[in-house]
């Protein structure tokens, strides 16, 4: 793993646990490690940003943040067959799920109410699945 890409001093124990958990899925190939390292750097940045955005939006009355990372290449976006992972307020997810499926995706994964936790887990796992 490229130590220059993800600095251990910048990450929380929870994020380090996610990295170690993800490492178990990776064979010893340098090219794949580099790809995963950049993916994890992006993931950690995004998790921090998500916390910031959630605090910003939740402070506004009647507004909630639902995160919905989608999985699949543009060809799947073209065919409306993406996989969508939702995290956030339950009632909002319910409304959004029926808006997004079957219009842009084929399936919803519910990752719970915590946008940071749900998104970090699915992104780290999804990157490892994507590599294979």
């Amino acid at each position: 793993m490229e130590t220059g890409t993800v600095s251990r001093t910048d990450i929380t124990p929870h994020q380090l646990h996610l990295i170690n958990e993800t490492r178990r899925y990776i064979p010893a190939s340098q090219a794949r490690y580099q790809l995963l390292a950049s993916a994890l750097a992006l993931t950690i940045a995004s998790i921090r940003l998500l916390g910031e955005l959630d605090a910003l939006i939740s402070a506004i009355p009647h507004c909630t943040l639902v995160t919905a990372p989608v999985f699949g290449p543009p060809a799947m976006a073209e065919n409306a067959s993406l996989m969508i992972a939702l995290s956030g307020d339950y009632r909002s997810k319910k409304e959004v799920a029926y808006t997004l499926v079957p219009a842009i995706g084929r399936r919803i994964l519910d990752l719970g109410g915590n946008v940071e936790k749900g998104d970090s887990v699915v992104r780290s796992r999804a990157h490892s699945y994507y590599i294979y």
């Binding site: 940045a45 506004i60 543009p74 073209e78 009632r91 409304e95 799920a97 079957p102 842009i104």
Partner: protein, 137 residues
Amino acid sequence: MAEQKLRMPLGSLGHKLAQDLPYSRPATPGQHAQVQIGWIGLGAMGYLMARNLANHRGTYLEQQPPLLVWNRSKEKSEKLLRELDNRKVAIAQTIVDVATKCDIIVFSLSSDDVIRSVYKELAATLQARSSHAPPLP
């Protein structure tokens, strides 16, 4: 009779949705009310998803307002409008338009800095609007 009912297959769409969505259907007013959806960001993925969403709502749902789209470069919004029609897509001039008119806003942005700046502008608009809202009777 009861056994026959159990063996009857569900309608294809209902069966598919029951499999694919881990939620029960929303309350009736939510499904039948006019819901204005806004879309911010028409990149490589965002363009395709926005097109499919606008097309689906315009084709299968009755009396729904067109998808309100906003993109930094207006060419992509105009391209989407040309590809569909003004019954399915409308172009927002600013993010403030999207923030004030929409019930659901979808973001498809790539860079963290862009996401942060767009959210801050949106939040400022929503915060100002909510502070000027009339009190409940």
